[in-house]
């Protein structure tokens, strides 16, 4: 098992270098100069322009900039934002808890509804249950997030007034972040009602962000269940006279879970990076929105650093998933 873990771990390095190279070259391919963008219509004196570029280290050839960047990365320094002039690591980790909290809640929502929906659809194949679940999940999967988010806001927040429109906490509560996780921070504060406010702010964005993973999980669970239900051991279990419930939940589901866990792992990665639209609609102060804004401002250190940290996290989530396979299915552990 330990050997298996290390073998997987060494695959991570080339992926890491690849990510740095790719983000670096891609953002430098986008036309636009951060100094000129900041100056806007006002324009900037060429001498001053050159001076500022030199201060930022942008006057050097690209390969030198890259080597300088990568050597700093290995020293744990991701640079400072051109816009706020603050260290990237500090910027990222003040925002990351918000993204993590939202992604976590969205994933719980997706798994909580996606798994049972998939199991029911798989077991009751061909029935109206199956058709309804599949049709709804296809709709969920194809829903444009921006439209879906606004629709939810208009219906639940403006029309019904049940949930807050956006943000993480009502403006009435003055709570300073300790952990950055609003649920924990509000729980620790002594302001009554703050926790409830934080929780209610999470509902709509979690549903919107969790809709696509929910659909993917439901469909994946269904097809995986269908395959497993045809297996010999399921028939044997049924022949032994076990209850349907036990056959499905113990014998079939455990084997059907492997592809589902892969999907959940991949979707978690997608959520961490892909919350951009949800974060923008719900004014959620997370990293997705931050990277998006950094791109439009050509804030190179923020884009490079942000993507690098997220990519590293995704690599590790997948590593975790790989290891989890080994635990669930011993055959993977021994053969790979």
């Amino acid at each position: 098992m330990v050997q298996f873990f290390f073998r997987r771990f060494f695959h991570v390095f080339p992926a890491f270098i690849g990510v740095t190279l790719l983000t670096f070259s891609l953002i430098h391919l986008i036309p636009g100069d951060p100094v000129e963008l900041r100056a806007g219509e006002r324009g900037i004196d060429p001498a001053r322009h050159a001076e500022i570029k030199a201060e930022m280290g942008l006057d050097k050839p690209l390969y030198i900039q890259y080597f300088r960047y990568i050597s700093n990365v290995f020293k744990g320094d991701l640079g400072k934002s051109y816009v706020t002039k603050k260290p990237i690591i500090e910027e990222f980790f003040t925002l990351f808890p918000a993204t993590l909290e939202l992604s976590f809640c969205a994933m719980i929502f997706a798994a909580l509804f996606g798994l049972p929906a998939g199991i029911i659809a798989g077991v009751k194949r061909g029935t109206p249950f199956d058709h309804t679940i599949m049709a709804v999940s296809l709709t969920g999967y194809s829903m444009p997030i921006f439209w879906w988010g606004l629709l939810m806001i208009l219906f639940f927040s403006v029309f019904l007034g049940w949930t807050p429109v956006s943000g993480r906490l009502s403006a009435l509560y003055w709570i300073e972040p300790d952990t950055g996780f609003m649920l924990i921070d509000t729980l620790m504060s002594d302001e009554p009602g703050a926790f409830k406010s934080a929780l209610s702010h999470l509902i709509l964005p979690s549903i919107v962000l969790g809709t696509i993973p929910l659909a993917v999980i439901a469909r994946m669970t269904r097809s995986s269940m269908l395959e497993v239900l045809k297996e010999d051991y399921v028939r044997t279990a049924k022949a032994k006279g076990l209850s349907d419930r036990r056959v499905i939940l113990v014998h079939a589901l455990r084997n059907a879970m492997i592809p589902v866990i892969t999907v959940i792992g991949l979707q978690t990665g997608v959520l961490l990076a892909g919350a951009i639209l949800t974060e923008t609609i719900f004014a959620w102060p997370g990293v997705g929105k931050w990277i998006l804004e950094s791109i439009s401002r050509r804030d190179y250190p923020a884009i490079q650093g942000g993507i690098l940290i997220i990519a590293t996290l995704i690599i590790f989530v997948n590593l975790g998933v790989d290891v989890l396979y080994g635990i669930i299915n011993p055959r993977i552990r021994y053969t790979s």
Binding site: I30, P31, G32, D33, E36, L37, R38, A39, G40, E41, R42, G43, I44, D45, R48, I52, E55, K80, Y82, V83, T84, K85, K86, E91, T94, L95, A98, L150, I153, L154, S157, V158, G161, P164, V165, S166, G167, R168, L169, S170, A171, L172, W174, E176, P177, T280, I281, F282, A283, P285, G286, K289, W290, E293, R298
Partner: protein, 532 residues
């Protein structure tokens, strides 16, 4: 007896509730559109940053009267200008307190040292704070301060003397700009001694009407009214910026009662906002101008008649309707009507295809010619959809035989190439900084700005002489006369087609009292109140 007791208990309870309501803090929630870059205005250029810093936390020597471009005394109660216009002596206000917060307790009142610190940090490359937070001081440089200010001296604790290298009439207006915000020198020193100078730019201390409480990145900024503010405490107790980048969501927040005021509504939502009984929709012309500039150094735009013909050929009203959807007004001068010296007597070129054709034939282009129109790739207040505008101009020009190709570049590239004069004609615009006509006329049309922000590459001596003379005299009536003449010369020569001034809309809850639209596009909350 029992009933009487009940009544008295109830009335005490009611009284208590009333007291509790009146004692409840008045919190105004502003649904802002983006995050500030930081809290030291001199380091940054974005209006969003100024809203969160200079417009609430800081004061300047001179200030703009709320809702106008009129200059009034600020931290300086008065100023004297030497007869040659190069020495400005500011007499400072006494008894002005700096904010007391959890991170700084001032031991002295505001004085001349604070003024010198605030400017010298930007001016002197060897100042201990010059390089802190990667300072590049774009606005200070952009307003030519490094070459204009020769020295700043402290005559006594309450008198500061600025010596300029040349007379500059807009100087007092420049002193009211955001970059000229006054910081506490005492706080700066304290942070320097503690070896945490960056903190100075992240946890601001000013003399303004609101004290900074906290900032949660991309989420919330909190302010508290400063009870020792020299002009009297603000009417609201707490001010919260709830950062919401999407305009539809801002509107939803306003409708749901989660915010009191929002900037930059979607034009498509304006009709619904006007009908909403809970929303008060204020509007005012913006301090900006959207224009089409001809490159007057390139054929055939060297010819005045061609420029005039192409100006006449454009149907501006149609553009206003299609591109601005009612949120704009036709522009006839290069400065907006909210700026003093606006010449209302100037007659605009009226849309007339036949006359345009005739004029073009007189210029020797009876069969028209081929040209380019550059369209900006971004949305700006002065031009919400440059591509659509370019298409409409292209169609108008085709009616007189001028075939135009529409070109667009990435924004940074667009600005750089147009500054170098690669275009033949282009769409662009400008938003004013200090409410002085010089900030439009010299910056955008002066001979000195050719190769820079003068996109028409237009250097016309009679015009340039007028605007140069206007910066040398400090009498506003005389300056007004000169600028009005300059606008006439501009119109005759037609280096631009002035297209529109946008109209700024501010939707707010009916509970908001006495909000005034800032002509500079900012949001000032001192003086604003909330109804129960």
């Amino acid at each position: 007896m029992k009933r009487r007791k009940l009544v008295s208990v109830a009335s005490i309870a009611v009284l208590f509730c009333m007291l509790a309501v009146s004692a409840q803090a008045k919190t105004l929630v502003f649904c802002s559109e983006g995050s500030p870059e930081g809290f030291t205005p001199a380091l940054y250029t974005a209006g969003t940053t100024f809203d969160a810093s200079s417009r609430q936390i800081f004061d300047k020597l001179s200030m703009f009267e709320r809702g106008t471009t009129k200059i009034v005394p600020g931290l300086a109660t008065s100023w004297d200008i030497s007869p040659d216009g190069t020495v400005y002596t500011f007499h400072l206000r006494k008894g002005v307190k700096f904010h007391t917060t959890s991170y700084f307790k001032p031991t002295r009142d505001f004085n001349a040292d604070d003024v010198i610190f605030s400017f010298w940090r930007q001016h002197d490359k060897n100042h201990p704070y010059h390089k802190v937070s990667g300072g590049t001081y774009e606005y200070y440089a952009g307003m030519s301060m490094p070459s204009l200010i020769k020295s700043i001296e402290k005559k006594d604790d309450y008198t500061v003397v600025f010596t300029l290298t040349k007379p500059n009439a807009p100087f007092i207006a420049n002193m009211a700009m955001d970059f000229a915000s006054i910081h506490s020198a005492e706080y700066a020193n304290k942070m320097l001694v503690a070896k945490t100078p960056e903190e100075f730019d992240q946890k601001p201390i000013g003399t303004g009407p609101f004290v900074f409480v906290s900032y949660q990145k991309d989420s919330t900024i909190r302010f508290q009214a400063f009870d020792k503010y020299w002009a009297g405490k603000a009417k609201i107790d707490k001010l919260v910026f709830s950062i919401t980048p999407d305009a539809s969501v801002r509107y939803a927040k306003l409708k749901a009662g989660e915010a009191h005021l929002m900037p930059y509504p979607n034009p498509a939502d304006l009709a619904a906002m006007k009908k909403d009984p809970n929303i008060n929709l204020m509007e005012q012309e913006g301090l900006n101008v959207g224009y089409l500039a001809f490159n007057t150094k390139k054929e055939p735009f060297t010819n005045v008649k061609v420029r005039q013909a192409l100006s006449i050929a454009i149907n501006k009203n149609a553009i206003l309707e299609a591109v601005f959807q009612g949120a704009g007004k036709v522009a006839k001068n290069p400065i907006p009507p909210t700026i003093w010296s606006y010449n209302d007597a100037v007659k605009d070129y009226e849309y007339n295809v036949a006359a345009a054709k005739k004029l073009l034939a007189e210029a020797g282009f009876a069969n028209g010619f081929e040209t380019d129109i550059w369209a900006m790739p971004v949305q700006r207040p002065y031009n919400p959809n440059a591509k659509r505008m370019a298409e409409m101009i292209q169609e108008d020009w085709s009616k007189i035989g001028v075939k135009a190709k529409i070109i667009s570049y990435e924004w940074g590239e667009y600005l750089k190439r147009s500054m170098a004069g690669e275009h033949t004609s282009l769409l662009l615009g400008w938003t004013g900084d200090n409410g002085d006509p010089d900030n439009f006329l010299a910056v955008l049309l002066g001979c000195d700005a050719v190769g820079g922000s003068n996109r028409a590459q237009w250097c016309y001596k009679p015009f340039d002489d007028l605007i140069m003379k206007a910066t040398q005299v400090s009498d506003q009536a005389e300056r007004t006369k000169l600028y009005q003449q300059a606008q006439v010369a501009f119109k005759e020569q037609a280096p631009w087609v002035t297209i529109a001034h946008s109209v700024v809309f501010k939707p707010m809850s009916k509970k908001v009292v006495d909000f005034k639209i800032d002509p500079f596009g900012g949001h000032v909350f001192y003086g604003v109140d909330l109804k129960e």
